[in-house]
């Protein structure tokens, strides 16, 4: 008996919920549909490079924003971190100073430190410069340095 009562009560409750009366005079209602597209981007940085002996300007490839889906007020910022010194592998006290410039080897003059990119395809060509006088003073041996590119998704200022 109790079971039947409970069943009837449940059926009635369901009916009362599903059969809400809708009046033709009701206002139009709006529904907000939202979604979030996560920002994505791909940045290419220069590959490892061996500088030919005695060459004063050497192309160092480019920093490029290959693809990007970023918010309106944001940008992709690339900052270069370097000692600007090639160090002799056998004796770290022996060094060759260098600079990294914006632009191709034949026209590079401005020192590169940072760049901000907004759209896919934006890029900055880089060139490594070593003064002739610094080559002339360099001791024999293998020299090396690591250039770090810090990539940030940040506010566009």
């Amino acid at each position: 008996m109790k079971k039947k009562f409970a069943l009837c009560t449940a059926v009635l409750m369901l009916m009362s919920v599903s059969a809400l009366p809708v009046s033709a005079a009701d206002d139009t209602r709006t529904a907000v549909i939202s979604t979030t597209v996560e920002p994505t981007y791909v940045v290419t940085i220069p590959a490892d490079l061996k500088i030919p002996f005695n060459q004063e300007k050497t192309n160092f490839g480019e920093v490029k924003l290959d693809s990007a889906q970023i918010e309106v007020d944001k940008c992709v910022k690339v900052t270069m971190i370097s000692d600007n010194t090639l160090k002799n592998k056998a004796d770290k006290s022996k060094t060759i100073p260098y600079q990294i410039y914006e632009g191709k080897a034949d026209s590079a003059e401005t020192v590169f430190t940072t760049a901000s990119y907004l759209t896919a395809g934006a890029k900055t060509a880089l060139t490594i410069g070593i003064e002739k006088s610094d080559w002339n003073k360099a001791y024999a041996g293998e020299y090396e340095d690591t250039v770090t590119f810090q990539i940030e998704y940040t506010d566009n200022q």
Binding site: L49, L86, A140, D145, I151
Partner: protein, 162 residues
């Protein structure tokens, strides 16, 4: 349950902060090799004895010299040869060549060597190149004049005696 709550809380916190800034770092290695020796080629317009450091070389030979070393080059000339000019990688260094021992030895101390080099030596020869030189012509003409004068004098003397 508490653990789950903590994990969920951390996830929420992370998801709230991550979109603000995202960092990534990539690096590239740049390298260079500086050679420990350089080539030195010596050429001369005549056969001369050439000594670089302690090695005798032939005209047109190439020797290896240590980078940033200052080798000495010696040119041994004969009595028929005079040192004239010298060019190092096309630059005139004639006034830096030391000529000694009555012109038989010419020497030069290089600045610290930092690149491949070519040294061109110009030698003047004392011997006539072709035919007679001017001095021989003068001697020849003088001898002719003296002979002619002698013949004339002999002829005059004979006439006077007759």
């Amino acid at each position: 349950m508490k653990r789950l709550a903590v994990v969920l809380g951390m996830c929420l916190c992370l998801s709230a902060f991550c979109p603000l800034t995202a960092h990534a770092e990539e690096s590239a290695v740049i390298s260079a090799t500086v050679p420990d020796t350089h080539s030195l080629t010596v050429t001369a317009n005549e056969d001369i004895k050439i000594e670089v450091g302690t090695t005798w070389i032939q005209n047109g030979d190439t020797v290896k010299v240590n980078r940033l070393s200052s080798p000495c080059i010696m040119l041994e000339l004969t009595s028929e040869q005079n040192f004239s000019k010298a060019f190092l990688n096309g630059v005139d260094i004639t006034d830096q060549i030391r000529v000694e021992k009555y012109g038989y030895i010419a020497s030069y101390y290089f600045e610290p060597v930092y690149e491949d080099m070519t040294l061109e030596i110009e030698i003047e020869s004392n011997l006539p190149q072709t035919g007679y030189s001017n001095i021989y012509r003068i001697i020849e003409i003088s001898a002719l004049l003296m002979t002619t004068t002698g013949i004339v004098i002999v002829a005059k003397t004979k006439k006077e005696k007759e």
